[in-house]
């Protein structure tokens, strides 16, 4: 199901349909997380990806009024080249991995995916990256606002704002 929906993302002409297929793909991946007993990541995946990011995509598409089928397609040759090169990459890695050792994943052997265990590791071992990522979020938010504002300010105005 994940694979079919992922194919739908790249094959559908309408960008809104692509977004819907991508949401389905994310839900399928979340189902895999739940199967592997990683419940925290499953919930975060649904909330962050299917909820926030995809709504952002839909919002931008609706804002630009792109749902009409106006996208110019690439030439047939270039599309074919893209598919062939992607397929060759897939085949090469597939051949490399067929000899890999297959180890059974026991669905309920460990409880590392539960929130309490992840929280302990996160706030003991990875406190510094956690804080840095919050700073990254802040800077990304400010950057998005600065890039997306209506018209760039003149240099004098900018200096004024900085002084204030």
């Amino acid at each position: 199901m994940a694979v079919g929906c992922a194919l739908g993302v790249i094959l559908s002409r309408n960008p809104v349909n692509s977004v819907m297929f991508l949401i389905m793909t994310f839900f399928a991946i979340s189902g895999h997380y739940i199967l592997m007993n990683a419940q925290f990541l499953a919930i975060v995946n649904i909330i962050v990806y299917a909820g926030a990011i995809m709504v952002l995509f839909l919002f931008v598409i609706m804002l630009m009024n792109l749902n009409a089928d106006v996208e110019p397609q690439k030439g047939m040759m270039i599309q074919l080249a893209g598919v062939i090169s992607g397929g060759i990459l897939f085949l090469v890695i597939l051949m490399g991995l067929t000899t890999a050792r297959a180890e059974a994943i026991d669905p309920k052997s460990t409880h590392i995916g539960l929130i309490s265990n992840l929280g302990k590791v996160l706030f003991n071992k990875y406190v510094l990256p956690f804080e840095i990522s919050s700073v990254l979020f802040l800077s990304a938010m400010i950057g998005a606002v600065v890039i997306g504002r209506k018209e760039p300010l003149a240099a004098g105005e900018k200096a004024e704002i900085i002084q204030n």
Partner: protein, 101 residues
Amino acid sequence: MPVTSTHYLFLSLLLFSIGIMGTLMRRNAIIIFMCIELMLNAVNLLLVAFSKLYGDADAQLFVFFIMVVAAAEVAVGLAVIVMMYRKVHSVDINILNRLKH
């Protein structure tokens, strides 16, 4: 048939290849962006599978950080796309060829 690590390996490889094909095939900047998200998720799936296999919680935290960085990246990237749409009224990436002149 028990689910093994190889199954997840192949599933995530397939998702990653589909993402690459989409990036190479399409000209709509937003769809290329979504294909990049697809590739990130393929890698996340593989990380979770191996964290489950080896009983290690660090990999799942890495997935968490990847999601954080991806969210920040999407915000900035969509702002860039909106800005580009305001300038040229298109999201066709071929227009960006002019950047080199």
